[in-house]
Amino acid sequence: MAVLHAWRAARVTPLGELHTPPRMTAVLLRLTVQIVLVASLWHGLYADTGTTAGLDRDQAVTYAVLAVLASRMRELDQYAGRDTVLQHMHFGTIVYWYLRPLPPQRYHALRALGEKLYGFAWALAGYTVCLTAGVVEPPKSAATAGVFVLSLLLGQLVLYYVLLVLDQMCFWTVRNNAAMLILIFAQNLLSGVYAPLWFFPGWFVTLSAFLPFQATLNVPLSLYIGRIPLSDAGLQLAVQAAWVVALHLFTRFLWRRAALRVMSQGG
């Protein structure tokens, strides 16, 4: 029975997407255009340059294209379905999360799981096409592929918890659009979405090493392209795992505190 409930909660967003073909067409078009543009940009930039920041052209293109594909696992538009925590707080409907037999934290996690799996299907399909077309390089070895998958999984967990903290902030702040935008910006910048972190100055790379954002994307992608050697993979995976544990404990604490702030029918 619990599995059935979990399945029903997890499939909400994917089902919504599957029932709106224009949105799926938009995603397909956007993904295709974005990959072509990003691949063209890095090819163009490397036209007169050999290796820079420890990355050659193929590594940079692979990194940038994989970053675009990975972004599919984050960018589902819950807003249209009015099911973001921000909207629930705004309209007062968050209380229903606490009146159901399913705990809110589990509902949130299941929704996120469904979205990530749906986004992953897109990313995997895109990766297969890009690999076949020679846009991205395959991993150097089976060991690299294995480490990458593990690192990507941990990175997605870190990303989930970071975004969960943003959602949980809504319980304390009536208006927090700006704070959310700032944190999303930080995530983009410090995880390597805008440009591979290796192109940034040394102090910037060092600073980002102390924050959870680089664990979401930069670490798995750097392992994939070989910018982080396999010999260093153990340490990087351990750092990712540490962030997962720390953020899990922190968000669990926040869920407890948040529950105390929810009022039904005025108290």
Binding site: T20, P22, R23, A26, R30, V33, Q34, V36, L37, S40, L41, H43, G44, L45, Y46, A47, D48, T49, T52, A53, D77, Y79, A80, T173, V174, R175, N176, N177, A178, A179, L181, I182, F185, N188, L189, Y194, A195, F199, F200
Partner: protein, 266 residues
């Protein structure tokens, strides 16, 4: 005159409303600045690692994000509420606007004060001053006039793109999804010479999605690269005018879409 006075009073009230939550107000100013800084970071990282981008030197390249960001900041300040109009449409506010004795588009623009524009504008002006001080061009009155026209043209072109999407949102509120992508594309691909891209891709960003007209073409004309853009020189030079024409076209599309708009009750 009366309508201008009303607009001014509503804007002042909107500004006071934004001040209700002081922390949020300050953060919104910060997010405007941070968003613009992200564009600068991206551009400077590329400039530092890949010198001589597309045959342009770094001081020339810097003029592109400076022009684009200033145009963008002014767009956000004056006409920016069309970005994200889908949310107002989805919440049914358009139905209310239709009942009031003020044009719907004006009410849409006066829905709230764009606090983030303060941050946007501050960083954009700073970058423009920096770009102009590093520029080795001879800034004649003609060049200065063309730069001002380019900024205004860029403002209107960006407004035209977002107005077209807002028009689509009247029929399909989910079309708003595209506006975030458009903003991202403008930020990442509108800030450096597009001749680093393959010709077909550059052509797409010129004739398919006209990002090239926002800043790249006008700056290419200003810096003497106007003949190397892959587009006819006259077309590149006419960018500011095209921005205004595109906006007039987009406003016609908005009016047409509004006539065919049907709310939740038909």
């Amino acid at each position: 005159m009366q309508s201008l006075r009303i607009m001014w009073r509503i804007t002042l009230l909107n500004f006071r409303a934004q001040l209700e939550y002081r922390t949020e107000f300050l953060l919104m100013v910060a997010i405007g600045a941070i968003w613009q800084v992200s564009v600068i970071v991206f551009a400077t990282v590329l400039l530092a690692r890949f010198t001589g981008m597309g045959g342009w030197d770094s001081s020339e390249v810097l003029l592109i994000p400076a022009t684009r960001m200033l145009a963008h900041a002014l767009f956000v300040l004056f006409l920016g509420r069309v970005h994200g109009a889908g949310r107002q449409i989805q919440e049914g506010r358009i139905d209310t606007y239709l009942l009031r004795p003020m044009p719907v588009h004006r009410q849409l623009q006066l829905a709230f004060f764009p606090t983030n524009a303060i941050g946007d504008l501050t960083v954009a002006v700073g970058l423009m001053i920096g770009a102009l001080s590093r520029s080795e061009l001879d800034w004649t009155p003609g060049r200065i006039g063309y730069l001002i026209a380019a900024v205004i043209g860029g403002l209107f072109l960006e407004a035209a793109l977002f107005t077209a999407l807002a028009s689509a949102s009247l029929r399909f509120p989910a079309a708003d999804y595209w506006s975030y992508w458009l903003e991202e594309l403008l930020g990442t691909f509108g800030s450096y010479p597009l001749n680093v891209l393959p010709r077909a891709v550059g052509g797409f960003l010129t004739y398919g999605l006209p990002l090239a007209f926002v800043a790249y073409f006008p700056v290419a004309v200003l810096t003497g690269h106007g003949h190397d853009t892959g587009a006819p020189y006259w077309l590149a030079a006419a960018s500011p005018l095209l921005g205004v024409l595109a906006y007039l076209g987009a406003r016609w599309l908005w009016r047409w879409s509004l006539r065919h708009y049907s709310g939740i009750n038909g």
